[in-house]
C-alpha cells in the first residue's frame, strides 16, 4: 500500500499565519463571542472581478488552496477534496433573508448559486480548469477529517498521486449568533470564541526528502469517555507504534465539559508534550485543519511556539505527532504524523 505524505500546508486563521514566514511568533489575543480570521490581500490570489462575488469562505478557500499548490510546486492536482461544517453560510443566510424579507419576490440567483456546500471546491476547480476528482464533505467536526481520509484512500488505491485537500468555514452572522447564545446559556459550554478559517494541504504518494508522512488516521462517530483510551490503543497497535513514542499530542481543547476526553487521551501518552490551539483561532467545525497545519510546521521546523503548549516541555527532537479532536463528545478523530 502506498505511503501518504504532506507536501505543503497553508492556513488562514485569526492569527497571522498566512502572510507571515514566521510561526506563531506575534500572537494576537482573541476573546469574545466570535473571532474573524485575518484575511489576506485577496488580490494576490483572486481577480478582483471574481472576488467581488465571492463570500468570505470561498475567498479564504481559494487563496489558501492556491498558496498550498504553489508551496508544493504543483500546477494541477489529481483530486480536490474539501471539508466544511457550515458550508457557505453567508450566502445561505443572505438568500434565506431575502426570501423572508421580500416574501419570495425579487430574488436573484447569485447567493443561491453560491450557497451550495461544494462552492469552494468548485471555484478552486474552475480557477485551475481542473477536471479531476472533486468532492466535498460536510459532517460537522469531521468534515475536514473525512476529506483527508478520502485523500488517503484515493492515493492508496492509486486513483491519484497528488491531492489538494482542505478545511474551510466562515462565521456568517445569524446562525452563529444563535449558536453562541445557546452555548453561553450553558456554564460548561465552549470557552473560546467561535472562529473561522481555511487550511489547505497538498498530500501525495510521492516521497520527498524530509517529507512529513501521514502515517494513518481514524474517524469515529461515537466513543465514551471510558472507551476513548481503548480506541487510542487500538489505533496505535494497528500502526505498530508504542504510546511512549508519541512526542507531541495536539488536542482540540475548547474549555467545555468534554475536555475530559483530552485528559483521558493525554494520560496514555506519558512522553508527549500536549499542545492546544483553539484558544488562538476559536472553535469551528474545521478548526482541526489548523491543528494539522501546526503539526506540519512543528515537524518541519522542529520548534514548538510557546503559546501552543498546554502541558509539558519544549522538545529537542520531534518525530511523531498525534492529533486528537472531538466536538461535544462526538466525531472523534486521530491523525498520526511522522517525520
Amino acid at each position: 500500500m502506498k505511503n501518504v505524505y504532506l507536501h505543503s500546508a497553508v492556513s488562514i486563521s485569526a492569527q497571522n499565519t498566512f502572510d507571515s514566514d514566521g510561526f506563531l511568533e506575534d500572537i494576537i489575543s482573541v476573546s469574545g463571542s466570535t473571532v474573524p480570521a485575518k484575511y489576506p490581500n485577496y488580490r494576490d490570489y483572486i481577480s478582483s472581478s471574481a472576488s467581488r462575488r465571492m463570500a468570505t469562505g470561498v475567498k479564504m478557500g481559494v487563496s489558501a488552496a492556491t498558496k498550498a499548490l504553489q508551496r508544493a510546486q504543483l500546477g494541477q492536482p489529481d483530486a480536490i477534496i474539501t471539508g466544511t461544517g457550515m458550508g457557505c453560510i453567508e450566502d445561505t443566510e443572505k438568500f434565506l433573508n431575502t426570501i423572508i424579507d421580500n416574501n419570495e419576490e425579487f430574488l436573484t440567483p447569485t447567493s443561491f448559486i453560491q450557497s451550495t456546500h461544494n462552492t469552494v471546491g468548485a471555484q478552486i476547480a474552475l480557477g485551475l480548469k481542473c477536471k479531476a476528482y472533486n468532492n466535498t464533505y460536510v459532517h460537522a467536526a469531521v468534515s475536514f477529517e473525512s476529506a483527508l481520509m478520502d485523500a488517503q484512500l484515493v492515493l492508496q488505491q492509486e486513483e491519484a498521486r497528488h491531492v489538494l485537500v482542505g478545511g474551510v468555514d466562515e462565521l456568517g452572522s445569524e446562525i452563529i449568533t444563535h449558536m453562541r447564545h445557546m452555548e453561553d446559556a450553558n456554564a460548561n459550554g465552549i470557552q473560546v470564541p467561535f472562529g473561522e478559517g481555511a487550511s489547505f494541504f497538498v498530500v501525495s504518494s510521492e516521497a520527498k526528502s524530509n517529507a512529513i508522512q501521514l502515517v494513518d488516521m481514524a474517524v469515529c462517530s461515537t466513543v465514551s469517555e471510558n472507551t476513548i483510551q481503548q480506541k487510542l490503543n487500538d489505533f496505535l497497535i494497528k500502526n505498530e507504534i508504542q504510546a511512549s513514542a508519541i512526542d507531541v499530542l495536539i488536542s482540540g481543547r475548547n474549555g467545555d465539559a468534554f475536555d475530559s476526553y483530552y485528559n483521558n487521551v493525554s494520560t496514555e501518552l506519558e512522553n508527549a508534550t500536549e499542545l492546544h490551539y483553539k484558544h488562538l483561532i476559536g472553535e469551528f467545525y474545521t478548526a482541526s485543519s489548523f491543528g494539522l497545519w501546526t503539526a506540519y510546521e512543528i515537524l518541519n521546523r522542529q520548534d514548538i511556539p510557546k503559546d501552543l503548549i498546554y502541558k509539558g516541555e519544549e522538545k529537542s527532537e520531534i518525530k511523531y505527532i498525534l492529533l486528537y479532536n472531538q466536538f461535544k463528545g462526538r466525531d472523534h478523530s486521530f491523525i498520526l504524523l511522522k517525520r
Binding site: 419576490e105 468548485a122 476528482y133 460536510v138 459532517h139 461515537t222 462526538r330
Partner: protein, 396 residues
C-alpha cells in the same frame, strides 16, 4: 466484479418502499403533482415530486417521541435507511465494522426557513438551531441505527449520493469497514424552490427529459440507501447479493458554477473513468439511467457526452426523473435503486412525457417499459459546481 450490494431502502414520490417503487415504474406511473406540504407563493406555478407522508405521519411510523428535533430530511432518511438494513437482513449492527455515509444538500433547511426569526426568543424553535448543519440528519440516522464507527456526510449538489456510494466502495476495498450504508436524503424546501425559481429552470408542467421542447425540471424529495458488504461478510453470512457496484467515476466539468459545458466534458470524463474501473467497454452497457433533469442545458450537454462515449451505438436510456422529480442529493441513490430493480427484473423503465427528439442530437430515449437482457447499467448524476459522477451496476 465490484462491491456487493445486499440491501436497499427508498421513499420517494412513487412509493414508500422498493416494492411500491417497482409497481409504479412498471406501470409508468409518475409521482409528480401539486405541492401540498410547503407554503409558498409559487405552488401554483410548479409541479413537484412530493412524498405524501407528512412529518407527523413519519414521526408515528418511525415511533419517535413527539418533541423530537428531526428535520424532514432526517425523517425521510431514517425511514429509508431502516428499510435498507431490514432488506439486507441485518439485525446485530455491531457484529461487523459498519459505517454510514449520507448525502444531502438542504440539510436542516426545511426547519431553519420556518424558525429562523424565532431562534432568538422561542425555546421551542431553538431545538432546530443545532439541526441546521448538513451533518445533523446523518448523525441522527446513524444514532437511531446504532452505527457508531465511521459516519460522514457528502454534499456535492445533485451528484452527492453517487459520491456517497463511491466512498463506501473505497472504504470496503480498503478494508476499513466490513459493511456500509450509503445513500442520501433531501426534503423539499422553500429555499430550494425559490433558488431554482431564480434560475428559471423549473417547469410548470410535467418535466420532459431529452424532449426538444423541454421546459425545465420538477423538484422532488426522496431518501434512499444501499447496504454494501465486503466479500468476507458475504461468504461468512451466506448473503444474497442484489447486484454489484462494478465501476464509478468522478470528474469536474470546470466550466461554470451552475451550467454544464457544451461538450459535456465532465460527464464524458466521469463515464470514461467508471467504464475503465469496471473494466468494461461502452458496448457492454445495456441501459443508461441518465441524469436527464429536463433542463435545456443539462439534457443537451449530457446527450453530447453520451455521443462522445458511445458514438453511434448509444444504449437504451431514460431519465426516471420524469417519475420522481429531481431529488437533488438523493437522486444518485434513488436512481441506483431503480437500476438495481432493472437488473433484478431484467426490465428497463421509460422516460415519460417524451415526444420529439432534440434537433441537435436526434437522441430517442426509451418511452415504454421494455423487458430485455440487462447485464450492466450505467447511471449518471451531475451537479452544480461542475460535479459529475457515474456509477455502473452489474447483475449478480
Amino acid at each position: 466484479m465490484g462491491v456487493a450490494i445486499t440491501g436497499m431502502g427508498i421513499i420517494s414520490a412513487i412509493g414508500h418502499s422498493v416494492a411500491e417503487s417497482k409497481t409504479s415504474l412498471l406501470a409508468s406511473k409518475s409521482g409528480i403533482g401539486t405541492l401540498k406540504h410547503i407554503q409558498t407563493k409559487h405552488s401554483g406555478l410548479i409541479k413537484v415530486g412530493e412524498i405524501s407522508l407528512s412529518n407527523a405521519d413519519l414521526t408515528i411510523q418511525l415511533q419517535l417521541p413527539e418533541d423530537h428535533n428531526y428535520t424532514r430530511t432526517g425523517l425521510l432518511g431514517l425511514f429509508a435507511a431502516k428499510a435498507a438494513l431490514k432488506d439486507a437482513n441485518i439485525n446485530a449492527i455491531s457484529q461487523y465494522r459498519t459505517g454510514f455515509i449520507s448525502a444531502t444538500t438542504v440539510g436542516g433547511m426545511d426547519m431553519t426557513e420556518l424558525y429562523l426569526k424565532q431562534f432568538a426568543t422561542d425555546p421551542e424553535a431553538q431545538k432546530y438551531i443545532q439541526s441546521h448543519h448538513a451533518g445533523d440528519s446523518t448523525q441522527k440516522i446513524a444514532d437511531a441505527l446504532n452505527i457508531i464507527e465511521f459516519v460522514t456526510t457528502i454534499s456535492t449538489a445533485c451528484s452527492s449520493a453517487a459520491n456517497a456510494i463511491m466512498l463506501g466502495a473505497r472504504l470496503i476495498k480498503a478494508r476499513k469497514l466490513d459493511r456500509v450504508v450509503v445513500g442520501g436524503t433531501d426534503a423539499l424546501s422553500k429555499f430550494t424552490i425559490n433558488g431554482f425559481k431564480t434560475l428559471m429552470i423549473q417547469s410548470d408542467e410535467l418535466c420532459a427529459p431529452f424532449d426538444a421542447d423541454r421546459k425545465g425540471l420538477n423538484l422532488g424529495e426522496a431518501a434512499a440507501y444501499l447496504v454494501l458488504e465486503s466479500d468476507k461478510v458475504i461468504v461468512k453470512e451466506q448473503k444474497t447479493v442484489l447486484a454489484y457496484l462494478s465501476g464509478y467515476g468522478n470528474a469536474n466539468d470546470a466550466f461554470h458554477q451552475t451550467a454544464s459545458s457544451e461538450n459535456g466534458e465532465g460527464a464524458f470524463l466521469a463515464m470514461k473513468k467508471a467504464l475503465k474501473l469496471a473494466d468494461l467497454n461502452p458496448e457492454h452497457i445495456d441501459y443508461i439511467n441518465a441524469h436527464g433533469t429536463a433542463t435545456p442545458n443539462n439534457d443537451f450537454s449530457e446527450s453530447i457526452a453520451l455521443q462522445r462515449v458511445f458514438g453511434n451505438h448509444i444504449p437504451d436510456f431514460s431519465s426516471t426523473k420524469s417519475f420522481t422529480g429531481h431529488t437533488l442529493a438523493a437522486a444518485g441513490v434513488v436512481e441506483a435503486v431503480f437500476s438495481i430493480i432493472a437488473l433484478r427484473e431484467q426490465t428497463i423503465f421509460p422516460n415519460l412525457n417524451f415526444k420529439t427528439a432534440m434537433p441537435e442530437t436526434g437522441l430517442q430515449p426509451v418511452t415504454s417499459v421494455v423487458k430485455k437482457e440487462v447485464q450492466h447499467i450505467l447511471s449518471n448524476s451531475f451537479g452544480f459546481g461542475g460535479n459529475c459522477s457515474t456509477l455502473i451496476f452489474s447483475k449478480s
